[in-house]
Symmetry: C2
Subunit: 240 residues, 2 copies
């Protein structure tokens, strides 16, 4: 929660007083035709009302009436390894800094202190994603938005997260192992192709697409910056 | 984050206008001696300034200048089983509802979806508490206070949580297994006494006190309601 500092109230009182007293002076002048009276009323009014305004503001700052919370969102970025999830999440996070909303960035390394032991079986992956989902939901319940970026290849756990969150937005970064090898010469996929590494989404683990995904981004068509702009536009239009 | 609703701004404009226009009418009357002029100026002023005030408020609502966040706290309630941690945490949580601050309650059942597997060795208990600590710290970084109630018998993990949080307040509910048996005829301690249950803090696991604990509450001296009042007073004095 935020509270107004006294400085904020003082500065606000001054900007208001300039607007208001000028109006009064003009009005009194129009009615009386006397510029001296108009200015004298203005000066007295300014002194009295600066004080009253300050008190009025401090009183209202204690009231919650009409203060509405900006609904938080859960932005869930999913896709096979090296599809650009982390970088894209970071860019979107940075772009939203100016929006004055609270956002928690959740990438693998952010949740490692919370959920250290993660396995690679289907069940272990699903459980891990569900735990992260509980965390995003807890954040959301407290008014905090999250930007989560996880491979999360299975619909079971992604749909679970969708189910427990209010404003869940799934962003799927669509690409393929071959595209990634071509683009970055990625070692992980090269090894996985030779069968040297197992449990890689996009290779031996099939990435399961969802019909409900809010945004599908074709990674071969867009730069990360363009993709981030697309996500931010979507958020601004639908959630901010 | 909160934003002012338009209704809030309208009502605020009206309460201010009543205060301000009455001042103007009195001033113009004092200067001109003409009640009619005073009222006419008042009416025109009221119309013009209601609109200006509305605009002025909407503009200020977009500015973060001088909005200060109420620093969140981490209230950590510790003590042997059945010392009253959960109930006390719930009472304090309820008492703080009127304070208009965001608080996440964290008891064993609140964190079970996040950290399902917890063991009872010293290492497992410490790891669990540290994970909860990371969660309280993440909450705190986002402006959310927490009320955590966990046995947390070891100084190692409690001091770890203290180390990663900004406003950590440790509340130790001081009592003994014998006191609890006498008060509630507690089965857990009776069984533990007979050696039928292991790993019980206050019996075979020694509860480690800390010199830095902010509040020590002698549970034989106070009712839970009185203990809660003591905690709330401490929070109001030091953190709200």
């Amino acid at each position: 929660m935020y509270r107004d500092s006294k400085t904020r109230t003082v500065v606000k009182a001054i900007t208001w007083r300039i607007t208001a007293t000028l109006t009064t002076i003009v009005l009194v002048y129009l009615f009386t035709g006397q510029i001296q009276t108009a200015v004298e009323v203005g000066v007295l009014e300014m002194t009295a009302k600066l004080l009253f305004y300050y008190g009025h503001e401090r009183l209202w700052d204690r009231l919650m009436f009409g203060r509405v919370e900006i609904p938080p969102f859960v932005l869930w970025i999913t896709g096979i390894p090296h599809s650009g999830k982390t970088t894209l999440g970071d860019i979107v996070f940075k772009k939203l800094q100016s929006e004055n909303i609270k956002i928690q960035r959740l990438d693998s390394h952010d949740v490692r202190p919370l959920f250290p032991e993660t396995g690679f079986t289907r069940k272990e992956i699903n459980n891990h994603i569900k735990r992260v989902g509980h965390l995003t939901s807890m954040m959301e319940n407290n008014g905090i938005s999250t930007i989560a970026s996880f491979v999360s290849p299975f619909t079971e756990s992604r749909d679970f997260v969708r189910g427990i969150c209010q404003n869940y937005i799934e962003v799927y970064l669509k690409t393929s192992a071959d595209e990634i090898i071509e683009k970055y010469g990625c070692e992980l996929f090269k090894k996985a192709k030779k069968g040297l590494v197992q449990n890689v989404a996009g290779m031996d683990i099939e990435y399961e697409t969802s019909p409900g995904t809010e945004l599908i981004i074709e990674m071969c068509d867009l730069t990360l910056e363009e993709a981030a702009d697309k996500i931010v536009s979507y958020l601004k239009k639908n959630h901010l």
